[in-house]
């Protein structure tokens, strides 16, 4: 039995508490298939076996609790973690740059990583805390994104209640494509930026060499 099948078996057997726990743990960052949990819950709503209100409220609460915990770990986590990430990322100056960048673009990232690119949600939570993204804005954007995620996924499960395995695959492939596109954009940007820096460094080297040659002659 695969891990997905095992988790679904436990959820179907024990119901909403397992749905709550699964969504919470996945939002904190443990790689669990939280999308398929909600889609399956949607199909059980269609069969009148699970209550719509209960599923929506519990899933949203669990997802928000996980997001806030991830943010808190990033923000108030150990200094060792922050300094290690900071050192790994290029020092305090780079961390400051990341903070500025995240303040400017983080809102879109936080909102979209809740529903459109949910696999990167836990990383965004941690980064939001690490870069001291304003907590109220984080909470509101997370809430809006998670609410959209819960409604969409439960809705898909309800609509395609007789094809939940195929619809789960379609959605996870879609998420994979979105994450892949974002990572590709980031990598291209890095290559372009470093390429520019490299050219500038070469130009500066050439200039300083020609200046020193002029002085000697």
């Amino acid at each position: 039995m695969s891990l997905n099948d095992f988790i679904l078996l436990v959820m179907v057997q024990y119901g909403l508490p397992v749905l709550f726990g699964g969504v919470f743990i996945a939002a904190v960052g443990v790689p669990l298939p939280r999308g398929i949990l909600l889609i399956t819950a949607g199909s059980f709503i269609a069969l009148d076996e699970w209550p719509l209100g209960g599923v929506i409220i519990l899933s949203l609460t669990a997802a928000m609790a996980g997001d806030v915990m991830g943010y808190m770990i990033g923000r108030w986590g150990s200094d060792a973690l922050v300094s290690r990430v900071s050192r790994w990322g290029g020092g305090e100056e780079r961390l400051q740059q990341a903070e500025d960048l995240f303040r400017r673009w983080g809102g879109i990232g936080i909102f979209n990583s809740r529903w459109l690119m949910s696999p990167i949600g836990p990383v965004v939570n941690l980064t939001s805390g690490l870069t001291h993204y304003p907590p109220v804005a984080f909470f509101i954007l997370s809430f809006l994104g998670e609410a959209l995620w819960v409604v969409l996924y439960v809705g898909f499960g309800w609509m395609f209640s007789n094809q939940i395995q195929v619809i789960s695959n379609v959605i996870s492939n879609w998420s994979g494509i979105m994450v892949g596109l974002v990572v590709m954009v980031v990598l291209v940007q890095l290559l372009r930026r470093f390429g520019r820096n490299g050219r500038n460094a070469t130009l500066a080297r050439e200039r300083s060499t020609s200046t020193s040659q002029d002085k000697t002659s």
Binding site: M1, F6, E49, N162, V170, G176, F194
Partner: protein, 124 residues
């Protein structure tokens, strides 16, 4: 930028491009299955009502196939029912698949469950 970093980033870009293309191919194939009304094989976590709903057959057909009394509205997954009956879950799934297949002669039968890699692995 140091050449090794550039090479690493280029390799990462190619790897992500390939992975994303793989997801695109899978998305196309799964979307086709979705529009054709297909679903995956019967799984241990499914309940009798869910299977009946998936394959558009009465729940009593499945009750009968796995030896439960008619009108027994058992909400448990079939894996748990199999455990209680002391049977192998695959045996239960086979019985259900055959019953659905017999009840819907014109329709394609439910897909067979994928083989368990643990069972296929050669003995050390």
């Amino acid at each position: 930028m140091r050449p090794e970093i550039r090479t690493g980033l280029t390799f990462a870009l190619v790897a992500v491009l390939l992975l994303t293309s793989y997801f695109v191919v899978r998305l196309v194939l799964d979307s086709r299955r979705l529009t054709e009304g297909q679903d995956g094989p019967i799984r241990e976590w499914m309940t009798i009502r869910l299977i009946a709903h998936n394959y558009d057959v009465p729940p009593d057909l499945i009750n009968e196939a796995i030896g439960l009394p008619p009108h027994a509205q058992d909400p448990r997954p079939i894996g748990v029912i199999a455990e209680e009956q002391g049977r192998d879950p695959d045996e239960l799934i086979r019985a259900i698949t055959e019953a659905i297949d017999a009840a819907r002669p014109g329709e394609p039968p439910p897909p067979a469950p994928p083989p368990d890699p643990e069972e296929e692995a050669p003995a050390p």
